[in-house]
Structure formats: C-alpha cells, structure tokens
C-alpha cells in the first residue's frame, strides 16, 4: 500500500484515464491504492463501480472511464481515494502518476463553474494536465439519471513517449 500523501503539500496527484493526464488537488487525496476487489452495487448509477473495504470503512468507487463515456477496462490500474462532501470516494483510474506541482510561466486556464468536471487545465512542460473538480465530479457520478456522458474527451492527437 502506498502511504498517504501529506495533507499540507500543494500540487496535484495525477493519474491517467485513457490518453488523458488528470489530477486532483493533493489536499483532497486521502490515499492512493492498488486495485482492490470491488463489490458491484445493483441498480446504482452507471459510474458507481462498486464498494471497497478501506480498513473496515465502506467506500464507494467511481469509474472515471464510465463517467467520461469511455469503454471500461477489464482491470483498473489504481484507486485514488478522495475526500468528498460525505466521506471518502475512490476514483478508479488507469494508472497512477506522480505528484506534479505548479511550475513554469504559463498560467493555468480556469474553467469556472460552467464545466462539468474540470477546474483547471495546467500546462505542464511535457503535456497538459486536466485538474478535476472533485465536488462537481462526484455530484455527476452518483446521479442516477441515465444521461449521456457529459465530457467525452477527444482522442489525443499524438501519443506521448512512454505510453
């Protein structure tokens, strides 16, 4: 188990979903886990991947691929447990990345409240980082209405080295 990241750090805990590099504020991250067995919840919202046992606490897991309208992989690459409005929620991602910090001269683009998930797009030197708005994301995830996925990411124009 990877130890929890210190709360006071600034930066983004990053992870991959399909071609995209995403991140959440480090302060919102409770811990990062290797894939765990999940218990399906019948009749729950499509994005609810299941429940996991986090040291005795029952934590729902949200599949970001489903939420983004992408095909679900047979096995997840990792779980990012975030603090949401009501306790913890695990985000199912393809792979866990590094913690990235704000750097460089380019200012991030603030998406404001109009965007369903995105809070910022941060231009890292090697690629763009989409920072997710955890609260809005979770609100969408548990919404049981079978609506169209809101944010279908465009396929990346080019593959990045190492992917």
């Amino acid at each position: 188990m990877i130890p929890a990241i210190a709360v006071l750090e600034t930066g983004w805990c990053t992870f991959l979903v399909a071609d995209g590099l995403y991140g959440v504020e480090v302060a919102r991250v409770h811990e990062v886990l290797r894939p765990q067995p999940l218990t399906r919840v019948p009749l729950a919202a499509p994005a609810v991947a299941g429940l996991l046992n986090l040291r005795g606490q029952i934590v729902p897991a949200v599949d970001l691929r489903t939420l983004f309208g992408l095909a679900v992989l047979p096995s997840a690459g990792g779980l990012v447990v975030v603090r949401g409005g009501e306790g913890l929620t695990a985000l199912v991602v393809d792979a866990i990345g590094d913690v990235r910090r704000p750097e460089g001269a380019l200012a991030p683009l603030d998406h404001g409240d109009g965007d369903p998930f995105r809070a910022l797009t941060v231009p890292l030197p090697d690629r763009l980082l989409t920072v997710l708005d955890v609260d809005r994301l979770l609100e969408q995830a548990f919404d049981r209405a079978d609506r169209e996925p809101l944010a279908r990411p465009r396929p990346a124009a080019r593959r990045l080295p190492g992917e």
């Binding site: 067995p37 999940l38 218990t39 399906r40 919840v41 019948p42 009749l43 729950a44 609810v48 299941g50 429940l51 996991l52 046992n53 040291r55 005795g56 606490q57 029952i58 934590v59 729902p60 009501e86 306790g87 929620t89 979770l138 548990f142 049981r144």
Partner: protein, 703 residues
C-alpha cells in the same frame, strides 16, 4: 468522580494554573447525570413516598452537586442545592413525609439547578438570578431559625448531611465506569477492522503450511481478533434505559399540565442499542410521549364514562428481534379518530375520492405522519399543531428505522418503532445471485425452500409468480429480475417476512450463514432503497445487505395491497413468535425443535430401518437417510431400539449439506413460542422441554 477527588485535584489547579476546563466539563456531565437520576427518584417517591433507596439516591445526587460546586465557587448553585439537600435530609430522617407540595418544590430545585448548569455550560460563569422565592418556599419545611434548636441536633443534622455521603456504593460503582469519547471508540473500531483484514490474509497464508507453530499462532490470533471485535462493538451499545431515563419526569410534567392521571410502564430496560440510535431517538420519543398524553389518553371523566380506570396507562416496551430493535409505545386511550383523518385527508386533497375507497385503515393512519396534518380539536402548548409526528418520522427514518401506527377505537393507539442495529452484529444468510454475494438479516427469514429437481416449483398466474407453501400462495420475487441480472438458475426460495406478511425471494443459491457487522452505506447509495447497509465478509470483501421491507414492496406487498397473510409465526408484528414442534422422546420426556428447521415429517415403519454398526438408517427418495435419536434417548444400536408393529415419526432436516432424520416417539403439537427461538432447556406447558438445535435450516447445502 467523587466530590472528594475533585477537591484534591482542584486545590492543585487553583494554586498552579487557571481552572482546568476539562474538570468543569466533567462536573457538568456528572451533574446532568445526577439530575436525571433525581428526576427518576422523585417520580419513584411519588409512588412510594418513604422509599429509602430513592431518598438516599436523591440525597446523594444533590449532595455531590453541592459539594463540587462549592469548590468551583458557584455560590448560587450551592445555596439552591444545599436547601434541597437539607429538605431531603429531613425526609430521609423521617421527620418529614413527602407530600405533593414538597415534590413540586424539590422538582423546582432540580429545574433551577439545571438552568444554572446550562448557564455555566454556555458562559463558564455562574449566571445571575434570584432564587429567593424558591428558597423561601423550601424554608417553609425547614427549621425557621437555627438558634431555636439545640446545638446537638444541629450537629447531628450536619453530620448527617455532609459527613456520610458520597457513600462507598457510589464511588465503587463509578470506579467501574469510565467515560470515553465516542470518536475514540470509532477509531478503535477502524483499527480492529484493519486487524481483521490482516488476520484473514495471515490465515490464508498459513493454511497452506498446515499445523506449523505459525499456523497455531495464527489460529489463536484469529480467535482473539474475533473476541476483540465483538468486545469493541459492545462498548458502543447502551441499554434503552439511557433513552428512557427522562421519561418518568416528562410524563409526570405533561400529565399534570393536561390534568390527567397517567401511569408509565416500562418494559425491556436492558435491551441494548447502538449509542447513535439512543441519541437519534431522544426527540421523537419525547414527542410521541407528549402526544400520547395530550391527545391519546382521555381525561379522567371521559375514561370513567367509558368504563375504564381513571388512570391512563402509557406502556413502553423495547425488545430485540434478530436484526432489529423494536420500541412499542402504547396508550390505552380513545384511539385515533379515523373519520377525522379521512375528512382531513380528503379536504386537503391528499387523496382522491376514487383512491380513497381502496385505502385500508392502516393506510389512512399513515397520513398522521404528514407535515401539518393534525386531527387535534384544540391546539395546546404541548401538541396539536400538526408539527412533530412528521419530524419524529424523519428522525427515525434518518437512522434507517421505520415507524407505524395502529389504533383500536376506544382502546388505544400503538406506535411501533423499528430500528436497525447499525453497527451491531446480526446473524445473516449469504445468498448468491449472478456471482454476487448478498446478505439477508436472518430476522426476516422464515424458511428455505429448494427449487428445481426434487424441490418446489414457482408457478405463474397471469403476470405474477407464486409459490404454493403448505396450501398458501406466496407472492414470489426473483432477485435477478429486480437487479436485472437474471440467470434463470434459481435454486433456492427464501420465505421472508416483512411487516407481518410473507413473500418468497428466489435466488441462485444460498451460501452460508454468518454473524455480520452492519455498516452504514455511503449516503449517496442509500437513495435506491433496496439495501439496508453493507458488511465486510470474512475475505475482506464488501457485501450488500438487502432491505427486506423494500423488496417486499417490490413483490407487490406494498401497504395498499392486501397481499397474502403470513403464517401464524409472523402475523403478530408486535409480538414475534417462533413455531416450535413439540415432540415426545422415546423415554417419555418432552423436547422441541424449531418447526422451520424441519424439512418434513415422515412416518417410518420399524421394519424399514436398517442397521450398520451403531447407526440406523432407512431408504428415502433413493438415498440412505441416517437416523439419529434425541439426545435424551438411548442410542439406536440394536434392532430392539426401534421395534414393534408401529411407525416412528422422523423429522427430516439438513446438516452440512446432508439430510438427517431425527427419530421421536410422537409429534405432539405446534407451540408458538413468544420471542426469539429459545435454546437449552425451557418450560413449555408446565413440562421441562429440551430444545434440540437442528443446525440452522430446513434446507441447506454446502457452499
């Protein structure tokens, strides 16, 4: 903590540092507990004015408060408490007898002390106030002037008042109890959960190693972990009496405002429930009690006219039934005015006239839980404004409970609160559906029926599926259909009871039974309503607990549908019973088994039994069915054991995936046992009866 200990610690605190806030905190909590005890004592004293225990207990409580507040320098509090204590000392000495006036005055002391304490809690300062009228009232019974008495009697009285308490009994009791922050307990629970997981992994790792020293150590660890988990769980439980402590006083006060005479009866004080539930229930229960006295019970004149005793009875009962705690609040009043409820509901457009014809009495009654709904003819400052019942219901449903009301005109009203044992350990049945494991609280399970070859069959009537169970038609719900993952491979039908009605739930298969720890579901997943919670299984994975009531609603057993009446074993919601099969042993003794655990009873001729070694068996449905004697009976080791030209009743049941037969001399009767299934030895119909455990279920297969 005793007053003495406060003083010792306090002196240090005063000389070295400013007053420690935690000491004050502790004083406040202690004092509130003391006041609650006083309330109870005074109500007891009203029934039995000379009760020495109640007098002593009240005296001690007030004395402790007085002693401690003098240390804190709360002069006003000290004066009031002292006056009350002096009056109690006289009552205790027998020089004064308790009268209603004195009780009123003493209760006024309690209220004043409570007010002052509330002020201290807010501001850490003793609030200003004038207690002269209260003190004057008390002094009416106290000696007018000290000089008027001789010095010796004053001395004696002072000794009596100050020297003796706090007595050893209080301190001894207090030493056995420790106040712990609930958050700390929660934290311990989490750690235990982690320990359980580590234990499970370790067990898996060493099972391969066989009986190595590590394997033995792991097994010991396994046992201890289970015990630890259980012990921690129990620390969170509180007896329901913690919830009821204030009710006697409340009943007394409300009754006197309403000018009614009410007797409060409480039953099942020791029933335990989770602390969080105790907290959540305080307000709803207070409301229901007020309501019952103000509106439920008639005044003495009306009662006498109706031929009832002038004194109304409010009966409170708590009991645990499997996975639920039940609270029943019954008054013997006039009952709810159904006609008025109908009128109101129609007038407010809550129900259309068409629909109203279909509503049962039970359905109409549920309107009283709607916001703003009131049938009270007058609004008092106690109740009748149409707010409250809805709030009570919200609070109860907020902790996953339900509340229902039933009424009999002229005879009274019963509120039935049913609560889950969140965080409690309950026995549950694990079932499998489309590869997923789900858990069903055993409290709802009546019996198991095998489907398919050699078992029963689900039949279809137009658009509904039904199962014939001993001549009764049971509505059937397929779990796969509900969840949209049907396999058409259902092998078991669970006969479940929900609110006094039964229905069948078809599942792929039944796995096993285990004691589970109920955990709340994340709030966002609770909305669907089909799950009552979740639990962590032995392998560390999460399993969902099915909400049987919600499933029942899906099965068309909703409240507006009459449905199929349940077997006698569950028809009485208020009083759960278990059907026991009474049998006579070959030696003439009486024994009993839980009827639902028996698959069937067959009569076997003596000649049909075959023997191998010490065992007997007979051929049954193409297989050999081993037969066992009752524990009380001699073994079946010879042909003479089961001889004669007669037949023997054999109770067929399942154990470890195999059928067994229990041979008895005669099956005598079915007996409805009130409460949960008994064990050991009990008395039924004035005979000592051994309860024979048939290992769980009528139908059972190895997982």
């Amino acid at each position: 903590m005793s007053a003495h200990a406060f003083r010792t610690r306090g002196v240090k605190g005063l000389t070295l540092e400013p007053m420690d806030d935690s000491i004050l905190e502790e004083f406040l909590v202690d004092s509130h507990e003391g006041l609650d005890r006083l309330d109870r004592d005074f109500v007891t004293l009203e029934q039995d004015p000379a009760s020495p225990e109640a007098l002593a207990s009240a005296f001690r409580a007030l004395h402790t408060i007085k002693g401690t507040c003098s240390f804190f320098g709360f002069r006003r509090l000290e004066r009031v408490a002292h006056a009350g204590e002096a009056l109690l000392a006289k009552l205790r000495a027998g020089t004064l007898t308790l009268s209603p006036d004195i009780t009123e005055a003493l209760l006024a002391v309690v209220d004043t002390v409570r007010r002052i304490l509330a002020g201290i809690e807010r501001t850490r300062q003793e609030p200003e106030g004038d207690d002269t009228s209260l003190l004057a009232r008390l002094s009416a019974w106290l000696p007018a002037r000290r000089p008027a008495r001789d010095a010796a009697s004053v001395k004696r009285e002072n000794e009596d008042a100050v020297g003796e308490p706090p007595t050893e009994t209080t301190t001894a009791l207090q030493q056995q109890h420790l106040r712990v922050d609930v958050r700390r307990l929660d934290q311990i629970m989490d750690f235990v959960g982690e320990l359980v997981l580590a234990r499970n992994q370790l067990l898996q790792a060493v099972t391969a190693g066989g009986a190595s020293p590590a394997g033995r150590a792991a097994q010991r660890l396994d046992q201890v972990t289970t015990q630890l988990q259980d012990a921690v769980m129990r620390t969170r439980m509180q007896p329901v009496s913690a919830l009821w402590a204030r009710l006697p006083r409340l009943v007394r006060d409300v009754a006197s405002v309403c000018r009614k005479s009410v007797r409060l009866e409480m039953e099942g004080n020791a029933t335990e429930l989770d602390r969080t539930l105790v907290e959540a229930l305080k307000d709803p229960l207070t409301h229901l009690v007020r309501n019952a006295i103000d509106h439920g019970l008639e005044d003495a004149a009306a009662r006498t006219l109706a031929g009832k005793p002038a004194e109304g009875v409010l009966h409170l009962r708590a009991f645990q039934e499997g996975g639920s705690v039940h609270l029943l609040l019954t008054d013997d009043g006039a009952g709810m005015p159904l006609e008025r409820i109908r009128e109101q509901a129609l007038a407010r457009g809550l129900v259309t006239p068409d629909r109203s014809a279909q509503l049962s009495e039970h359905d109409w009654l549920q309107f009283v839980f709607l916001p703003g709904f009131s049938t009270a003819e007058r609004v008092t400052n106690i109740s009748g404004r149409g707010v409250g019942l809805d709030a009570a219901r919200d609070a109860i449903e907020g902790v996953g409970g339900t509340i229902e009301v039933s009424t009999t005109p002229g005879q009274g009203t019963t509120f039935h609160i049913r609560l889950p044992l969140t965080l409690a350990i309950i026995p549950a049945l694990t079932v499998e559906q489309a590869g997923d494991c789900h858990v069903i609280p055993q409290a709802h399970l009546l019996e198991l029926v095998r489907l398919g070859p050699g078992g029963g069959e689900i039949e279809r009537s137009h658009d509904r599926e039904l199962y014939r169970l001993r001549g009764q038609l049971l509505p059937v719900l397929r779990l796969g259909e509900v969840f949209g993952n049907e396999t058409a491979e259902e092998r078991h039908l669970l006969v479940l009871s929900a609110e006094g009605r039964s229905f069948g739930l078809a599942v792929d298969r039944v796995r096993d039974t285990e004691e589970i720890v109920v955990k709340p579901l994340p709030a966002k997943l609770r909305e669907g309503g089909l799950f009552a919670g979740a639990t962590v299984r032995g392998d560390g994975r999460v399993a969902l607990i099915l909400d049987v009531l919600a499933l029942a609603a899906r099965a068309g057993l909703g409240r507006a549908t009459p449905g199929v009446s349940a077997p006698a074993a569950v028809s009485a919601v208020a009083e759960p019973t278990v059907a026991l099969l009474l049998v006579r042993a070959r030696n003439g003794e009486q024994a009993a088994v839980v009827a639902a655990h028996v698959e069937r009873i067959i009569e076997v001729e003596s000649a049909a039994f075959e023997r191998f070694g010490e065992h007997a068996a007979f051929r049954f449905e193409g297989a050999v069915l081993p037969v066992e004697p009752l524990p009380a009976d001699p073994p079946l080791d010879s042909a003479a054991s089961l001889a004669g030209d007669r037949t023997w009743p054999v109770l067929v049941h399942w154990r470890d995936g195999q059928r067994f037969g229990l041979v008895v001399d005669a099956v005598e009767d079915i007996f409805e046992w009130a409460g949960a299934a008994p064990s050991g030895r009990v008395v039924i119909r004035e005979r000592i009866t051994d309860i024979i455990e048939l290992d769980g279920f009528a139908m059972r297969e190895a997982a």
